[in-house]
Amino acid sequence: MNSQPSTLWTHLSSETNHTGTWRSALPLYQNQPSPCHGACPVGGSIATWIKQVKDGDHYEAWLTLVDNNPFPAIAGRICHHPCETACNRAEHDETVGICSLERFVGDLALREGWSFPSPDVELSQSVAVIGGGPAGLSAAYQLRRQGLQVTLFEAREALGGLMRYGIPSYRLSPDILDGEVARITAMGIDLRLNAEVMDEKALTALHKDFDAVFLATGASLPKELPGLDYSQSFVLDSAAFLADEPEAQSSQTGEHILVIGGGSAALDVARTARRLGRKVTVLTLESEGHLPAQQVELDEASEEGIEFITGAMMQSAVGKDGSVTVHATKVDFQIGNAPGGFTAAPVAGSEFTIEVNTIIPAIGQDADLARWNGILNTSGPVINISGAHGKTSQPGIFAGGDVASMSRFVTQAIGMGKEAALGIVATLVDDADVVAPSQEPEVLLDRINTAYHVNHGRNTQGLAEVASRLETFDEVQQPLAPAQAQSEAERCFSCGTCTLCDNCFYYCPDVAIIKLEDGYEIKTDYCKGCGLCVAECPTGSIHMQEDIAS
């Protein structure tokens, strides 16, 4: 052993070398939006609430969810989930089951009886919300959260709109709907049921009495199929059929039902009819693979014994003695260039007939705009709105949901209700704190170090047995068990949302990362710009940028 400490053993520090001056690029630590967030119709902070689920903070996760959407239990059941389509994990193994996780949290909130907090302040500004469906309820909720006074006008006897009268209970149990709606009305909303705002005159009066109006009357008029006589008793309106009780549904329909249409509503009709014990055939103009309904709905419908005739068009229907002969032809279905556009030319010589007892066309609904003639521009298929916040041509009147959009998704309507509410708050309340959405680019897969994410297939929800499904209107999709939900939450890459894993801190060769309570800071005096922190980040929350300043 050396008796004298070596020259080597010093009180000096590498801090004397300001290695940051060598740098040409600097890592930027910044949370950025995930693709799921960008795709989400309500702008949900998905990576954030899934991390809270992962951490076991379920109540916090629910609070994050309801920032943007008061219906997580509903959306977790019926959302068309573009978030999952956008999920970066798809290229790794399978997308994260965001919807099933949302349902898990939403159901837990209902079981636990979690309620929305009262607004911090009560404001005097008043808003009339016309329509108690997903858009109207979402707007009413967001307005109440900000302390505005809300009066909600609903034409029917109960709230929910399409969620109550259009979606069968095997997809969305009425208990869930009632629970999530009751939580909103408990916030103190002046509720007017059976109160239809009939016409332009009534709207004008509300426009005068309230500081703002949000119009969300949906799309209530069925599109009509050429060549079908709607006055015949064997033709039923799909919306009316879905809104009816099972007894009425049974009494109006014959043994074999032909449903015309390939969207979610058509499948809701078809699957409801199967539960009444009927033989069901679905005729769609779209060819196989192009039906607008979700794949899971198509799969479940096939399992339930529904027959599909795709790429075909009804030409006429002749009824006689309780049976109907449907004349149809195959078509050459081609997707067009414009979104939603297509051509469907009949194929000569492919004509065929089917014998049925009842026809239920479900080819879409139009908004009833004529009644607003004189106060709003009603020339288009929907009310024309400008910007993200649902402003109509009439100052003080905002619109959202199916009356102002052709997209026809429940969560799209919820998102529009939220955005309109934020627009109303920004208009009516001085110093309103309305946060603009992030303009940062989304974090794509190339930013994720997938070595940190072990391959693990998706935890799927169970389905009720087919035989038992057809005997009741009970929900088909079964919730994730807690352990499954935990495992699913752990699959999330957390794209662009830092999970405080400390990889950057430990891997930095220059000890240039400082840990803060809720993130990290980069010591620019020492960071050489090597990019190890970026390479080792499992969430893409740090990225390199050119640094010519140094």
């Binding site: 050396n2 070596s6 080597l8 009180h11 000096l12 520090s13 590498s14 004397t16």
Partner: protein, 388 residues
């Protein structure tokens, strides 16, 4: 070699497993290891010991030899006893950290299995991998047999910890690493007495708050090399002490040089590693045929025990250096070391340098006999000679 075997705990071990036994007995705190042919059996055997709870060492398996040596540096700087092992490409990948370890005065023991470096790709015994690391500040020892490898790896810890310099022990690929012989395994308690834990003169400790190797000025850097030089000056003595004490404990003494039948020799072979076994056989046969031959086996290559070499070759007229390595543009490395060491010396022997067995080619006893006969009275020739 051919030391008397006093300890009766004999096991049939190959060279690499003998090394692993030596490591087990030396009981390092940490061993960062990355596998490479032909070193892998060392790692495998250590993991066998570890999984059977026979070894307390923390074994790390990082993603490369560079990282293995980086981990060894960090662990050793805290005061831990640290072992690692590698070969050829792995040693070359460690190169940067070899300087770092020596510059930080860390008593790491590294076992290297001598193997041809690429290209072309090969797995053959050749010592150029470690000889090309001679300027990194590591003490270098070369072993001839599995028994010597076991014994030397333990002595290496003693030398390293006494000098605060890292020590590299080498043996030849396959000829030693995979050759099996009866090996006497010493008693654990005896090794613990031989190799007690030694306090360092410096180590990293947050309570002390001093750094090892922080940026330093020119004068300070210069001083660290003078200190290293002073430490290197102690190595020959420490190697002798370690070898002598080992002999007292095990009955197998060692020295920096091993001299075989050198008394009154007219010609001696000078070599390192497994070549010494062949040379020893050649010496016996030459003696039988009336040629007074001898062998000088160099165990300690860096620092070169030059005073001992001068003494050993004082009255010997001819030295034949056998190099199983080739430094392009120069020749055999051991040859060059001897030429430099004897330059200007009075009564220096004529020194010939032979490139024998480069790349692991076979070197038969007869080849060496012929060299002795052909060159014992030849005129001095400084150029390296390729031997077929």
């Amino acid at each position: 070699m051919n030391a008397p075997i006093r300890n009766e705990n004999l096991q049939l071990l190959n060279g690499n497993h003998a090394v692993a036994w030596g490591v087990r007995l030396a009981s390092p705190d940490v061993a960062p290891l990355y596998p490479i042919t032909p070193q892998t059996p060392i790692l495998e055997k250590l993991i066998d010991f570890k999984s059977a709870d026979l070894l307390g060492t923390e074994i790390l398996t990082p993603e490369s030899e560079h990282s293995a040596m980086a981990a060894a540096v960090a662990a050793s700087a805290t005061g831990a006893r640290v072992f690692s092992a590698t070969s050829s490409q792995g040693l070359l990948l460690m190169h940067e950290l070899l300087h770092y370890a020596a510059g930080s005065r860390l008593p790491i023991v590294l076992f290297n299995v001598n193997r041809t470096p690429a290209a072309p790709w090969g797995f053959w015994p050749d010592q150029i991998d470690s000889l090309s690391q001679r300027d990194t500040g590591w003490v270098q020892l070369y072993s001839e047999t599995p028994q010597e490898s076991l014994d030397t790896v333990i002595q290496a810890f003693r030398i390293a910890e006494a000098s605060e310099l890292p020590v590299m022990v080498n043996h030849d690929a396959f000829y030693v690493s995979h050759a099996v012989e009866p090996v006497s395994v010493p008693d654990q308690g005896a090794v613990e007495l031989y190799l007690p834990k030694v306090d360092r003169s410096m180590w990293l400790d947050t309570d002390i708050g001093r750094a090892i190797g922080a940026p330093i000025g020119q004068d300070g850097w210069n001083r660290t090399r003078r200190e290293m030089d002073a430490a290197m000056q102690t190595i020959v003595g420490l190697t002798k002490d370690a070898g002598k004490a080992w002999g007292e404990m095990s009955g197998r003494p060692y020295a920096p040089l091993e001299l075989y039948r050198c008394d009154d020799a007219e010609v001696v072979f000078v070599t390192m590693g497994s070549m010494a076994g062949t040379a020893r056989e050649a010496v016996d046969r030459l003696r039988e045929s009336g040629v007074a031959a001898g062998l000088v086996k160099v165990r300690l290559f860096r620092p070169m025990p030059m005073a001992d070499l001068h003494a050993a070759l004082a009255d010997i007229p001819c030295a034949l250096v056998l190099d199983r390595n080739y430094s392009p543009g120069v020749g055999g490395v051991l040859h060059q070391e001897l030429m430099a060491g004897f330059y200007g010396a009075e009564n220096a022997p004529r020194i010939f340098g032979f490139l024998t067995g480069v790349g692991g080619t076979n070197v038969p006893v007869e080849m060496l006999e012929k060299l002795a006969v052909d060159y014992r009275q030849a005129k001095q020739n400084n150029n390296p000679i390729w031997v077929e």
